[in-house]
């Protein structure tokens, strides 16, 4: 049974490090925000909602037995008004049934209000993933975030008050100008809010983003080097584990039982349906990506057709599937299941990866316990160096 992802491609403002497909709702080109000139008024959001409604209807057949979990991400889903949110959630629930209880919506601390939370609760959304990123206002400002640390506290208070008992905070480390002290401070403040889940990401410089432009060419002294980043990561892991969080994936920590079920489906190689512009689906070994361009997305669905960006459709070979199975599975604390591999590929891990595995096991980078092959936790921050060798 696939999981369901719905992409809401709007933000108030695009953050300087972000490479996701998302349109800013406010024109910031003159250095200060000018109120909605754009998406809201020009009908892009309503167009999007119409397109999404059609896509939901068209593609509901891909999950005849229902979907396991729901994840509404973006962009910033909570830039939609409560009415718009209601429309979207209503469409989703009209066509899809959910076997599992986990339903997540991403939110930006500056865009969470009681009405929106109430709508979410009406549809039994029970998990909020809040893009906190940092508790340092200087760094928040520099990243181009629209919120300040104060907003995080308020948003969390509202979320809790609305009866949501599963909260994730996203945090970023390795930011330009950030030192270990800043990072510890952010982590301590985050933990004071007692989220059930924390995603802790090393900053990735992406081409085509302002951060990428600024720092990829010229790796300046402002950027924490690999050693400092590794120290930040190690400190976070130790601190959070001490606070009772399980380090269950490279970048993810959760109180026992609060691991994100939706994201686990990706790491376990399950099928997933992605709706909305630029969203990616993977069903029965075919991975396809929706048209990223919102106008094309709206038009395609206006004509009653699916909106695959055809050039990006991929028919995964057995070798690629195995590579991915290892790449994703080894990210998690659970590792990969040897019998799971055998069932999926009709061949044993040993037959495919025997010598590589043996070498890494001998050297203590990987280990096998019962049915599972896992990465030694102390090497999570250098996981690529090992995972790479499992690519076929």
């Amino acid at each position: 049974m696939p999981s369901l992802y719905v992409h809401v491609p709007f933000c108030i403002k695009k953050c300087d490090y972000c490479a996701f497909y998302s349109l800013p709702l406010i024109d910031w080109s003159e250095g200060y925000g000018r109120m909605p000139q754009s998406a809201g008024d020009s009908g892009l959001i309503s167009g999007y909602l119409r397109g999404a409604a059609r896509e939901i209807e068209l593609r509901s057949g891909e999950a005849p037995a229902g979907v396991s979990s729901l994840y509404i991400g973006g962009g910033t889903p909570t830039v939609l008004s409560w009415r718009q949110l209601d429309t979207l959630l209503n469409e989703i629930h009209q066509y899809f049934t959910f076997s599992d209880s986990e339903k997540t919506t991403e939110a930006n601390p500056g865009t969470v209000d009681e009405e929106k939370l109430k709508v979410l609760r009406n549809y039994r959304v029970n998990r909020i993933s809040l893009g906190a990123q940092s508790f340092n206002d200087r760094l928040l400002c520099q990243m181009g975030r629209i919120h300040r640390s104060q907003d995080i506290w308020q948003a969390v208070k509202r979320i809790r008050k609305a009866g949501i008992h599963n909260l994730n905070l996203d945090l970023i480390f390795g930011l330009p100008g950030q030192d270990l002290k800043d990072w510890k401070d952010t982590l301590r403040k985050a933990s004071e809010l007692s989220p059930e889940h924390l995603s802790v990401y090393a900053l990735t410089l992406e081409e085509g983003t302002p951060f990428g432009e600024k720092y990829l060419q010229d790796r300046t002294e402002f950027l924490p080097d690999d050693d400092l980043q590794a120290d930040m990561y190690a400190w976070a892991a130790a601190f959070l584990e001490e606070k009772g969080y399980r380090h269950y994936e490279i970048s993810n920590f959760a109180r026992p039982g609060y691991e994100c079920k939706h994201n686990l489906t990706y790491w376990q190689g399950e099928d997933y349906i992605g709706l909305g512009p630029g969203a990616v689906s993977c069903i029965q070994n075919v991975r396809s990506k929706n048209n990223e361009d919102i106008t094309a997305y709206i038009e395609d669905h206006g004509k009653g057709q699916k909106t695959f960006a055809l050039c990006e459709t991929e028919f995964l070979t057995a070798a690629q599937l195995m590579s991915e199975y290892m790449m994703l599975g080894l990210r998690t604390e659970e590792g990969i299941s040897l019998t799971g591999f055998l069932q999926k590929f009709k061949v044993s891990v040993q037959d495919i990866y025997g010598p590589i595995m043996a070498n890494y096991i001998d050297r203590g980078f990987l280990f096998i316990a019962e049915d599972r092959l896992t990465l030694n936790k102390q090497y999570m921050f250098v996981a690529n160096a090992i995972i790479r060798d499992f690519m076929r």
């Binding site: 990401y201 590794a230 490279i250 990706y266 630029g278 991975r287 921050f381 250098v382 690519m391």
Partner: protein, 601 residues
């Protein structure tokens, strides 16, 4: 007509690099109408890319020119080109042996250079008629009179009739052609005598087999002639004879005095040994031509494919290159670090670089070159002498009584102001001063005895850079001398990497080891564990650096929309990793092996 044609002239051009040899050759080709300017350009484009880029001739070329002289007669002029770099003096001797005369081209501003001098002496030894040509006379800095004087003083030949020319603008070209006709003697020899011809080069053609380039001294050869190689006694039936125009053009026959090629499905290029005498199997010459000194490999290094699976392709590439370059030697070699490869012998460092580049360019292979080495004579404690061209094979210290290294006599020609610089350089390079000549008041020849290994290391680059390019160098092997030499090994993570070992003078071992270790630390990427990099002599560590363990190599986010991209990224990285050599658990990039070669960068 039994006597060789009096209308043939065979000549070559002796010149220092940049003194305008190629331009002059082009002018001669153009002036005689052998090729039009347009064809000339295309022709040039066909020749080896590397030669054009480096502005040097590597492979000797031959061309037949038809020239109607002022006396109204049409002459056949065969130009056999010579390479100008010191590494290739062997090739020069080949072309000179096929000629009766030579143009000595000297730059009107720069005068004679060491290499030119060496080649002129070779020509004089071969009794060649020398026609001095003072080129680039249109340069503002030209001093033709001074250069004339220099030619007389240094070489001791009459320069009063030296031709003043500018190959660039065409001045003096006709005069040169006339001088070739008038002053160079026609070939001696007789068409009716048994065939006697000298192989001065050869080439491999995938359709026609090995094609020897020959100069006929006596007799003639046509299609159908059964020829015999005098060194091996092997017989081949000739299926094609031809001349160079400059492309290969089929001819009826080749007669005494002429220059051309013969083909006869000779499958093995080893059968067309340069220097061998070709005769008629049915009517053989009583004795062979003298031939000339064999190419000696001076520099050796290991060549290994970056990807082990490319071994066969590398072997194939070497085979093909050797077909057209008899001076390239190679044999199988195995390295603990690099796997299967080849130990190759070259005429010099430039030759080595050229072969390396041709393998990469023409065959699309990535290769690793180990540090160049000369041949050492090792006297062992059990009174044996062994030859070592691979440092990894040096016996353990305790077994060595003494090591001898090859020495050269080097002559360096420089403007007098650089004498101090040259002395300093030679001192650094363990040279001992022999003597010094003032060629003119402002130009000097210095003679030194030096270890060949120092020349191989970076002598030439240093010489050029310290004298602003004014110095020129020639050297010849003189023999072996005992020296205090040691083997320096590099250990990575406690294991010796044989491909990085080299033999060095004890006094230089410490700085060289120090430098190499530092360089390797920068070139080897951080890995999963800390890697000590040590330079050791025997059991003694003389330098050490640490490559700290890698701390970050991770994809922070990997969700549904990221998977394809991340998989492709990792696949690509894995491909890149294949270019690394695995020694123990340490991955070493190609550049690290090159570090030994270019330590002064």
């Amino acid at each position: 007509m039994a006597q060789a044609s009096s209308k043939i002239r065979n000549f070559s051009i002796i010149a220092h690099i940049d003194h305008g040899k190629s331009t002059l050759a082009d002018r001669l080709i153009e002036y005689t109408g052998t090729l039009s300017t347009r064809e000339l350009k295309e022709q040039v484009l066909d020749s080896m890319d590397l030669e054009r880029e480096r502005g040097i001739t590597i492979k000797l070329q031959a061309v037949r020119l038809r020239y109607k002289a002022k006396d109204g007669e049409v002459y056949e002029l065969n130009l056999i080109d010579t390479p100008g770099h010191v590494d290739f003096s062997y090739e020069v001797s080949r072309s000179l042996a096929a000629c009766e005369g030579a143009l000595l081209v000297v730059d009107a501003a720069q005068g004679i250079e060491a290499q030119t001098l060496a080649n002129v002496y070779l020509a004089l030894e071969n009794d060649l008629e020398i026609i001095p040509v003072i080129n680039k006379i249109d340069l503002p800095s030209a001093e033709p009179d001074r250069v004339k004087q220099e030619i007389e003083d240094v070489i001791g030949i009459d320069a009063s009739e030296a031709i003043l020319a500018s190959a660039k603008s065409g001045v003096g070209v006709e005069e040169i052609l006339e001088a070739i006709v008038k002053r160079i003697p026609p070939p001696q020899g007789n068409d009716e005598k048994p065939l006697k011809s000298l192989i001065f080069d050869s080439k491999f053609d995938s359709y026609k087999g090995a094609i020897p380039y020959i100069r006929i001294f006596d007799g003639q050869v046509t299609k159908g002639t059964n020829i015999k190689m005098m060194s091996s006694g092997k017989v081949f039936e000739i299926t094609e004879v031809g001349v160079f125009t400059p492309g290969m053009t089929i001819a009826e026959e080749l007669k005494a005095g002429q220059v051309g090629y013969i083909a006869g499905s000779i499958k093995n290029v080893g059968d067309t040994r340069v220097g061998d005498t070709v005769t008629d199997a049915g009517n053989p010459a009583p004795e062979a031509l003298p031939g000339y000194r064999k190419a000696i490999s001076m520099v050796f290094c290991g060549l290994y494919p970056v990807e082990t699976s490319d071994y066969d392709r590398l072997k194939d590439a070497l085979e093909k290159l050797q077909l057209n370059d008899a001076s390239l030697m190679y044999e199988n070699e195995t390295s603990a670090a690099l796997g299967f490869g080849f130990r190759c012998g070259f005429l010099g460092l430039l030759h080595m670089e050229i072969i390396q580049e041709r393998i990469e360019r023409e065959f699309g292979l990535s290769i690793i070159t180990t540090a160049p080495s000369v041949v050492y004579k090792v006297n062992t404690t059990d009174r044996e002498q062994i030859l070592i061209d691979n440092p990894a094979l040096l016996p353990p210290e305790g077994k060595i009584e003494s090591i001898e290294e090859p020495m050269v006599k080097a002559s360096v020609m420089v403007p007098a102001e650089f004498v101090g610089t040259i002395m300093e350089l030679n001192q650094e390079k363990r040279g001992s001063f022999l003597n010094m000549d003032y060629i003119t008041a402002s130009r000097v020849s210095l003679y030194y005895e030096l270890p060949l290994s120092e020349i191989v290391y970076d002598y030439f680059d240093q010489l050029k850079s310290r004298t602003k390019g004014y110095a020129s160098l020639d050297y010849e092997l003189t023999g072996y001398k005992e020296a205090n030499l040691v083997k320096l090994d590099i250990m990575l993570n406690g294991e010796i990497v044989d491909a990085l070992s080299f033999i060095v003078h004890k006094d230089k071992a410490y700085p060289r080891g120090r430098k190499l270790v530092e360089k390797l630390r920068g070139l080897i990427p951080r890995q999963m564990f800390e890697i000590p990099v040590q330079a050791v002599i025997g059991a003694k560590v003389i330098a050490r650096e640490n490559i700290r363990a890698m701390r970050k190599d991770v994809l922070a986010k990997c969700y549904g929309g990221d998977i394809t991209r991340k998989r492709k990224l990792l696949e690509k990285q894995k491909e890149g990793k294949k270019r690394m050599k695995q020694v123990g658990n340490v991955e070493i990039p190609q550049e690290a092996f090159m570090a030994v070669l270019k330590m002064d960068d």
